[in-house]
């Protein structure tokens, strides 16, 4: 600590902090422009000059380190004059072509200008074109630029993308993207960080222009991915007019990704469902579904009609075929409160454990695997902890920068700023692999899809041989090591290399990096989980982290990145067939007794079965076989997102009665009988639990369109009607269905869920950051799991052998298809295809194909290809790139119809977790004659001279 005096006030500051930061920390504002607490000090604007005793000229406070005994004055007449002079110089060439049109709120720059009694001069000729960049999200007007370089530093230090730079020098200095190209051609991800940090509006949000200044800002949690970024919805006249960063956001600070910042406009899309719809046949005659194909036309109706109809039908099916003929799909897009209700509805009122959700397609293998080896299945550490403490990071099967972009950016910074060593194991040369380059002391391994067990076993074999394992840790905290050792002996590097296709020397290097830079954190996602060996893959990673003693320590851990905004929460809330909320197993008698009591009805119900219910991947096929007669689906789109969708369509078609609670008439709506208009994230209160097990508030910002109602209110209403229809009355303490608000719902959740025992909206409103388990009202939460001991006591090693994927290439289908996502879209794309800018940047599916294969099949540039598997075919444009290896193609499932890879995928399941093997199937590919008009060569070059291959490495 250093003691100094600012404006006569004695102040203590951290050594190395700047005078500006020290002043700020003590409530003293020193005018500043180029400085920002998140960014490295720059010292360019000179607005922050202060007087320091003994200094001849006033230094810039933002770059001046505090020194013992320093005496600083921040407000003197001379300084005021100096600041005025600086602002005058900055204003001399400032042209705001948009003023005074009702733009957004006063900028930081203009606030200082006004404070010092100045104004922008009139009649200055603009030096640069206005709106100079075609990026659909970001408006560039360098006539307002004051060269504070915050954008440059934000893109480098927050986003790690290095898009912006400075060109020329002196008075001609200007900000340019890449080599003076358009933003998107300079590898911009449109994350908007540069806009967020720009103090002048030279960079501005295009989508917000002309919509007027926000009347209020509502802090809420992003609806897209499991990172759980918080952001401020800017609202005017009951519309979201923009999204701005909330500097206090605990996970992400000012950072957001393109979807979180610019993908909000789906909320106001004209196709939003505003009124309940039912199929005409349900209101007519005997209510029998018309024969042959379509379910007939939709009729808009009122809530009473729709909900009563649902109640009648479900009760009838329950009575006729038993409760287990009904399946309930909860939604990882919805809140904890809503998912809790779905679980309660299924178990208490319908009387079935047939409740599941898209976690099945996603991290089911993670949850099962980690439960087996550690006793609980969630991310063990937090991103902030890993950023601060990890010395190495191992990413396997996660395209982090595209799918968890804010974490991806954070990992880039860990490499750049903390020198963390990164190993990436992914068949594709994904973006983050750039940071796993030897120049950063890292490595990218390109294993064959489906070879992860062999890869990890090979690495562990080397680690063991070299004696890099943590014997003391294994001894003290684990069991089953001998079995593992025996198995590992069968995976010498040469064999591992043969199975995985990764050269032996790379295996050695990677093993050394991950073993000798401790703590090391493992990240994974779908590349690991979506295999018939998904659980085995996860167990292997569990083995690795025990072997190295990386569990229960800061900076280490197993870190499965959960996908949906609330998939963690949906699982926590019991939206799974085998567990009640808080992973209390339905097979556990005590748990059943507990819930039977809590949810007790006066008639002695509920009857809670001793065996788990069915999974998504069983429910839908069984619907095809007539065993499942009704499905109640909340916020899921299986027609696009389940494997082998041609089969899924047939199954849904065969299902008697489907209720879909959605915000859009999704592709799945075609198969629904009742369509209930729920509300989007911006229209309701509740909580989401992010991938770090951090419970966060979602707050209502705007009212729902038309008659749409919050999902929790719909489910609760349905519950009340079911009770009434069956003439049942609540008896247990948590048995009722009258809820005033989600906060009250959370109290109920807390009462029955030990890991949420201390969670309440009130605490969250107060700003508590709560990572479950939160064992009581005073418990601070648990950012790191398994400290001291594992949830199950001793960690258990599992000896795992490599097994090939279910479907391997052959003569007929010689290529391997692997699938995944792109940064701009979300799964079936119901939301992102309705977000104007996102669709503009990425308007159709692109299939990645290696140049060698392109040549082989006679593919010429951005031509259309037909990809065929045993189950179907897709047609999409190709992108020829060595991101994929020869023999491998990559596609996504963001677009419907012929463009969807799920026409091809195989519904082969992991035997334990029942997760489908999306990540490998065998296909054939051919170029389709008749090129698309868009394939004009030159254009692509003009837009992207540097392209992906120019790494955004060190700066």
């Amino acid at each position: 600590m250093i003691e100094l005096t600012i404006n006569g006030q004695a102040i203590r500051a951290q050594a190395g902090s700047s005078v500006l930061a020290a002043a700020r920390a003590n409530g003293i504002t020193i005018p500043s422009l180029c400085d920002h607490p998140d960014l490295k000090p720059y010292g360019g604007c000179r607005l922050c000059v202060v007087e320091v005793e003994g200094a001849r000229t006033p230094p810039a406070a933002c770059t001046l380190p505090v020194a013992p005994g320093m005496v600083v004055q921040t407000e003197t007449p001379a300084l005021a004059a100096a600041r005025q002079a600086v602002l005058e110089l900055l204003l001399a060439n400032y042209v705001d072509g948009d003023a005074p049109a009702a733009g957004p709120a006063e900028t930081e720059f203009m606030r200082w200008v006004r404070r010092y009694g100045l104004a922008a001069p009139a009649g200055v000729a603009p030096r640069y074109p206005v709106d100079a960049d075609p990026n659909p999200f970001i408006r560039v007007d360098m006539n307002k630029c004051i060269l504070c370089l915050r954008c440059v530093r934000a893109c480098a230090e927050v986003q790690g993308r290095f898009v912006w730079g400075t060109a020329e020098r002196g008075f001609d200095t200007r900000i340019v993207a890449g080599a003076d190209t358009a933003l998107l051609g300079a590898r911009c991800e449109s994350c908007g960080a540069c806009v967020a940090y720009c103090p002048t509006g030279a960079l501005d949000d295009k989508l917000s222009r002309g919509l007027g200044a926000a009347e209020r800002k509502v802090t809420t949690t992003c609806t897209y991915c499991g990172v759980g970024c918080q952001l401020d919805l800017n609202v005017r006249e009951n519309r979201i007019v923009g999204v701005t960063s909330n500097p206090a956001a605990p996970v992400n600070g000012m950072a957001l990704c393109v979807k979180g910042r610019y993908g909000y406009d789906f909320v106001h899309h004209p196709q939003r469902l505003t009124q309940p719809r039912v199929r005409g046949y349900l209101l007519e005659g005997d209510g029998r579904r018309p024969a042959g194909g379509s379910r007939g036309p939709w009729v808009e109706t009122d809530w009473d009609t729709a909900l009563n109809l649902v109640v009648r039908r479900l009760t009838a099916i329950k009575q006729a075929a038993g409760p287990d003929a009904i399946g309930v799909l909860a939604s990882a897009k919805c809140t904890n409160e809503e998912n809790y209700l779905m679980n309660k509805l299924a178990r208490q009122l319908i009387g079935t454990h047939n409740v599941d959700h898209c976690a099945r397609l996603c991290h089911a293998s993670t949850v099962a695997g980690l439960a087996m080896c550690y006793g609980s299945g969630a991310m063990s550490n937090t991103m902030a902890d890993i950023y601060a403490h990890a010395r190495a990071i191992f990413i396997i099967g996660s395209n982090t920068t595209e799918q968890h972009p804010v974490f991806g950016a954070r990992i880039r910074q860990a490499v750049l700023q903390r020198g963390v060593k990164l190993v990436v194991a992914d068949p594709r040369r994904i973006d983050i692999a750039e940071f796993a380059a030897p120049r950063f002391g890292g490595l990218h391994l390109r294993q064959r899809p489906g070879a992860d067990v062999a890869l990890v076993n090979g690495l562990m074999h080397i680690i063991l041989r070299a004696g890099w394992h943590d014997a003391a840790y294994i001894q003290a905290r684990c069991e089953g090591f001998q079995d593992l050792e025996t198995t590992l002996a069968h995976y010498p590097p040469a064999l591992a290399a043969e199975i995985t296709g990764v050269p032996v020397d790379q295996l050695h290097q990677a093993a050394e990096i991950i073993a000798r830079n401790k703590p090391m954190a493992v990240f994974w996602a779908m590349g690991i989980t979506q295999h018939t060996t998904g659980v085995f893959n996860v167990l292997s990673l569990g083995n690795l982290q025990m072997l190295l003693g990386n569990m229960g320590v800061p900076g280490g851990g197993v870190n499965p990145l959960r996908g949906q905004n609330n998939v963690q929460g949906a699982c926590d809330m019991g939206a799974l067939p085998n567990v009640f909320p808080g992973y209390q197993a339905v097979t556990d008698e005590k748990a059943r007794a507990k819930f039977a009591a809590a949810w007790a009805l006066h008639d002695g119900g509920p009857h809670l079965a001793e065996t788990p219910g069915l999974t998504v991947t069983e429910l839908i096929p069984l619907a095809g076989e007539g065993q499942i007669k009704a499905l109640y689906i909340l916020g899921e789109d299986p027609v696009l997102t389940d494997p082998d969708v041609n089969h899924v369509r047939r199954c849904l078609d065969a299902c008697d009665f489907i209720v879909l609670q959605e915000i859009f008439p999704s592709e799945t709506a075609e198969f629904a009988d009742v369509l209930l208009p729920g509300t989007a994230f911006a229209e309701k209160d509740g909580t989401f639990t992010n991938t770090e097990r951090r419970v966060q508030l979602a707050r209502q910002a705007v009212s729902p369109p038309g008659q749409a109602r919050p999902d929790w209110a719909i489910i609760a209403d349905l519950g009340r009607r079911l009770l009434a229809h069956e003439g049942r009355r609540p008896a247990g303490p948590q048995a009722g269905w009258d809820y005033a608000c989600p906060a009250q719902l959370m109290d109920e959740i807390a009462a029955v869920t030990p890991s949420y025992a201390g969670v309440s909206h009130e605490r969250l409103e107060r700003g508590d950051t709560l990572h479950w388990p939160v064992k009581g009202r005073d418990h601070p939460g648990t950012p790191i799991l398994h400290i001291g001991q594992f949830t199950r006591g001793l960690g258990k090693f599992f000896a795992i052998d490599h097994l090939p994927p279910k479907e391997l290439p052959d003569d007929e289908f010689p290529m391997v298809l692997t699938i995944g996502r792109v940064i701009y879209h979300w799964h079936g794309g119901e939301m992102t295809r309705r977000a104007e800018g996102l669709l503009a940047v990425y308007p159709e599916t692109l299939v990645e194909i290696n140049p060698e294969d392109a040549v082989r099949i006679g593919l010429n540039g951005a031509q259309t290809v037909r990809v065929t598997s045993r189950r179907g075919e897709m047609l999409a444009k190709a992108i020829v790139t060595d991101r994929v290896s020869p023999g491998l193609i990559f596609g996504n499932f963001h677009f419907p119809g012929a463009q969807n890879v799920n026409n091809l995928t195989i519904a082969a399941l992991d035997p334990i977790a029942k997760i489908p093997e999306y990540k490998v199937c065998a296909v054939r590919i051919e170029a389709v004659a008749g090129d698309s008009p868009e394939a004009a060569p030159g254009l692509a070059q003009a837009a992207a001279p540097a392209g992906r291959s120019a790494p955004g490495g060190a700066n």
Binding site: P134, N135, P136, V152, F162, V163, W164, G165, T166, A167, E168, R169, V176, A177, G178, A179, D180, T181, A182, L184, G185, A186, R187, A437, R439, A840, V841, Y842, P843, E844, L846, E848, P851, A862, K877, I879, V880, T881, D882, R883, E934, L939, A940, Q941, A943, A944, P945, A946, G947, R948, S949, A950, P951, G952, G953, A954, N955
Partner: protein
């Protein structure tokens, strides 16, 4: 849909022409690929190709593992580097005070007249590019004009025509 095109092209930037690749390869062989080598590498490529075409910048960016913005920013900062094609001969006129006070202005006028160029311009026949430079340390024999690597001192306006004639 320009943006979509950008995304599509990301995977495979157009390959650099062979002369560009050769120039960058030679420069990297001489100066290495560490960050500190950026300016020497760009200088060497600039010397060899006469300027730094976009493909050269992209290639340097790739080889040094450096963002395009940084390479470009550097290329546009230093006056010996040019991102624009230049004429066969680069005529640099020293415009600093020591040359100025010993008759620089009149030589400058003569030079501009003889070339018919404004500073920064290249003649239509691609023969000359005229630029001004800061002092090149030959002030003792000012006014000074540097053509390519040759320094011509003690110039008088009437010598200009003959001097230029020596450069075809």
């Amino acid at each position: 849909m320009r943006a979509a095109m950008a995304h599509r092209a990301n995977g495979h930037p157009p390959p650099a022409p062979p002369e560009v690749t050769a120039a960058v390869t030679a420069a990297v062989a001489e100066h290495g690929d560490a960050a500190g080598a950026l300016i020497p590498v760009l200088s060497a490529v600039n010397r060899r190709l006469g300027y730094l075409p976009p493909a050269a910048l992209a290639e340097v960016s790739r080889r040094l593992g450096m963002p395009a913005s940084r390479v470009y920013g550097v290329a546009r900062f230093y006056t010996l580097l040019s991102t624009e094609p230049r004429g066969r001969h680069l005529v640099q006129f020293c415009e600093n005070a020591p040359c100025h006070v010993v008759g620089g202005r009149r030589v400058w006028e003569a030079l501009r007249q003889a070339l018919g160029l404004a500073p920064g311009e290249t003649s239509a026949d691609g023969r000359f590019t005229l630029i001004t430079t800061s002092c090149i340390g030959a002030c003792a024999v000012g006014p000074v004009v540097v053509i390519d690597d040759e320094v011509h001192g003690n110039l008088t306006p009437d010598q200009v025509e003959a001097l230029l004639a020596r450069y075809a």
